[in-house]
């Protein structure tokens, strides 16, 4: 099952509590968990170092594993079958409890004997901050406590021996990992820990039961919504791109990035998905986070911010082996320093969408929104790093200009509504940008929009021109661009991001869902439906996606679960369900 100690990324499922996420392997190992928050240092980091921290709970000897989320929840159930019987492991992160004093963070693993008698083992191997902080481990009264400075971890076990035990049908064993940060440890009673798992399951089922989507691919849409809810950092409303860092875009490659931040670019897709599903509270919280975060840097905005809205994103390379030798392992993200003009389009689109839905600007101040649009109208001519955050020379990306158009168009519309002060310069600049795109951004020789003027490349991100209002999906030029993207970048249902990407990374799953969305908007429903079916079938066994896929093998690549993919899935399904009027 494992290669050199590493599990295929497809074999991970995620559990979480609205503050952090754990990755649980199909073989019973919790291999990734940052505490107390999703952007904190990990205590389990085995996905990046086979000798790293983990919490194992699995049968001793050969077994087969089958798993699922309990319907409508983020509570994971893995059934292990051995020659001697079967057990079910239920994994969940629990919530703040009002009945009893609850730990700051808690991960509970419950084993129920189903058939026969199964020999199991567990190992608690904490490693804090990639081993940069040394934990003092002590055992006391059936507990293992590991502590350093402001952090402490305790593993409580009940009916699970000291690491080896046997379980018969009808018996139950439980492990609870608790974490304290800047406070004393809270050590749970068994009943309380088990009750909190059921309460967590009940909450998730209630939450998903309220989703307002009855269209096709409902199971996939609900699972995506649950995955997005896992990625939401509840204290602020931010939704992280993924809860992991440095899972590689190519095995052995160096395109390994830290995604434990909120990207403004994802905002437009986030708002549309959340509002389409009836998640108004989450949409409002995300919008507030976005406005709160950008206030520190406006009118210039960074592509990404910390979950608390901060800007401490310095990138550091760690001396770790990396997933299957994919180095470097990075924490922090240098892309925060880049000029990415395409960020402004989604930001203003989000504002527009929020205002049209709620009739309010929420936390946003008209003066600040206007300052963003002023910045775009004066700076759109600059080259930038683009949507893919290129670390090479800045270029004049056509998509970046199109998103600048979107930003100014939305600002102008908000001015029409009397929400923003009127600036004639916005409409004038928008028209100038459109002229630039249709003149310089159109590649006459190849009959499509190009990645950047004077370059031969094609880029799948151009599909977003139709998703963020710049282009009409039925327009001839856009239709021709779709065809060129499919011709040059498609491998089966998958799309590479740009020309030549196949030599450096996998196919980018989000782009495939964007293609579905664009086809749906173009009225090409049959093609869109066929592609959607193929893509929904390409999720892993519990319905999650990583950022990329190797089209040849179906192997997952990149960080996971990836929010942008799940957002794109929801939006594609909504567009298909809405038919000719996807907005």
């Amino acid at each position: 099952m494992r290669t050199e100690g590493y599990l295929p990324l497809r074999d991970y499922a995620a559990i979480g509590d609205g503050r952090t996420c754990a990755l649980v392997g199909r073989d019973g190992f919790v291999d990734w968990l940052c505490l107390p928050n999703v952007d904190s240092p990990p205590v389990f980091d085995r996905i990046l170092d086979a000798g790293g921290g983990c919490l194992e709970l699995s049968p001793r000897g050969p077994f087969e594993a089958e798993r699922r989320y309990r319907p409508g929840t983020n509570v994971l159930e893995t059934t292990f079958r051995t020659a001697d019987g079967a057990v079910r492991v239920t994994d969940a992160m629990t919530f703040h409890d009002r009945e009893s004093l609850s730990p700051l963070r808690e991960l509970v693993r419950i084993v129920d004997g189903l058939e026969g008698r199964v020999a199991l083992g567990w190992t608690f191997r904490p490693r804090l901050d990639f081993g940069r902080r040394k934990l003092r481990v002590r055992e006391q009264e059936g507990l293992i406590v590991a502590a350093d400075g402001s952090d402490a971890f305790a593993l409580s076990s009940w009916n699970a021996g000291d690491g080896r035990f046997e379980l018969s049908a009808g018996e139950r064993s439980t492990l609870a990992l608790t974490h304290a940060h800047m406070e004393p440890l809270v050590l749970p009673a068994r009943d309380d820990a088990e009750r909190r798992v059921e309460e967590a399951a009940a909450f998730w089922a209630r939450w998903s039961g309220r989703l307002e989507y009855d269209g096709p691919w409902r199971d996939a849409v609900v699972r995506s919504a649950l995955a997005l809810k896992l990625l939401a950092f509840s204290p602020s409303g931010c939704i992280v791109a993924a809860p992991t860092t440095s899972l590689p875009e190519r095995i052995g490659g160096d395109r390994n990035w830290d995604y434990r931040f909120g990207w403004l670019r994802d905002g437009a897709y986030t708002l549309r998905a959340l509002l389409s599903l009836g998640c108004v509270d989450e949409a409002r919280a995300f919008f507030w986070w976005q406005m709160h975060a950008t206030r520190t840097t406006e009118p210039e905005v960074r592509p990404l911010y910390c979950v608390d809205g901060g800007i401490r994103t310095e990138e550091v390379e760690l001396r770790l082996p990396g997933y299957r030798g994919s180095r470097p392992v990075r924490v922090g993200n240098l892309a925060a320093e880049q000029l990415q003009l395409d960020t402004y389009g989604p930001l203003l689109e989000t504002t527009w969408r929020f205002w049209t839905k709620t009739g309010s600007l929420g936390a946003a101040r008209p003066r600040e929104i206007a300052a963003l649009a002023d910045f775009v109208s004066s700076e759109w001519r600059r080259p930038d790093a683009g949507i893919w955050e290129s670390r090479g020379e800045p270029r004049h990306y056509v998509l970046s200009k199109a998103m600048c158009w979107t930003a100014l168009d939305r600002a102008d519309r908000l001015a029409d509504e009397g929400v923003l002060p009127r600036r004639d310069a916005w409409r004038a600049a928008a028209e100038e940008i459109r002229g630039w795109i249709e003149e310089d951004g159109w590649d006459e020789a190849r009959g499509s929009y190009g990645c950047a003027p004077g370059e031969d490349d094609i880029d799948a991100s151009l599909l977003a021109m139709a998703l963020c209002a710049y282009a009409d999906a039925r327009d001839g030029r856009f239709a021709a661009t779709i065809e060129r993207i499919r011709h040059e970048l498609a491998r089966g249902p998958y799309l590479y991001r740009f020309s030549g990407a196949e030599t450096i990374e996998g196919a980018f799953v989000t782009c495939s869902f964007w293609l579905v969305d664009a086809l749906a908007r173009a009225g090409r429903t049959e093609e869109a439906t066929t592609l959607m079916d193929e893509l929904v079938a390409a999720a892993n066994d519990v319905g999650l996606y990583a950022e990329e896929v190797d089209p040849a093998t179906g192997e997952f690549l990149g960080n996971l679960p990836q929010g942008l993919v799940h957002l794109a899935l929801v939006n594609a399904a909504v567009s298909l369900a809405d038919g000719d009027d996807p907005e």
């Binding site: 703040h96 409890d97 009002r98 009945e99 009893s100 004093l101 609850s102 502590a147 350093d148 400075g149 402001s150 952090d151 402490a152 305790a154 304290a180 940060h181 800047m182 406070e183 004393p184 440890l185 809270v186 050590l187 749970p188 009673a189 068994r190 009943d191 309380d192």
Partner: protein, 157 residues
């Protein structure tokens, strides 16, 4: 002198509480006094923190009153004398109050006589508060020195 001591107690408690929080942020200790005090009365974290802060500030004033009475009785006050009292206070807080008395009165903390009928959930301080981090005792002692000095200083003004 009493009123001055009470004013010093208020300022000193603010400094002590802030210093304690800073020590938590710096990773010197996991001792969270408001949470420890508040969870005596409620398991709900938010309410416990508010109650804990209120109790801690009340304690700060009660101890300041005691300092003031000592200043009155000895007819002397000043930051150095206050700091001396703070040292005694710090040793009492670290060595007896938090170490011995808190687990005894805390319904959610284990004690030597806790039996099968109850299940304590809150980590006890351990010998000389060492369970909450090795620097806990030193930080507690140092912060009480500052508290005492401030009470003494204000009482002498």
């Amino acid at each position: 002198m009493i009123l001055g001591a009470l004013a010093g107690g208020l300022v000193g408690t603010v400094v002590l509480t802030s210093g304690s929080r800073l020590a938590q942020h710096l990773g010197w200790t996991r001792m969270d006094i408001p949470l420890l005090l508040g969870t005596i009365f409620t398991p709900e974290r938010g309410r416990a923190t508010v109650i804990g802060y209120a109790i801690h500030f009340a304690n700060g004033l009660v101890f300041a009153l005691a300092y003031g009475l000592i200043f009155e009785a000895t007819d002397r006050a000043g930051w150095l004398f206050g700091m001396l009292l703070g040292a005694v206070h710090g040793l009492f807080a670290g060595g007896g109050l938090l170490n011995v008395l808190l687990p005894v009165v805390h319904p959610r903390m284990g004690k030597p006589w806790t039996d099968a009928r109850s299940a304590p959930v809150l980590e006890p301080p351990g010998f000389l508060l060492s369970n909450y981090g090795r620097a806990t005792l030193a930080a507690t002692f140092a912060l009480h020195l500052v508290y005492g000095a401030l009470v003494g200083l204000f009482a002498s003004l």
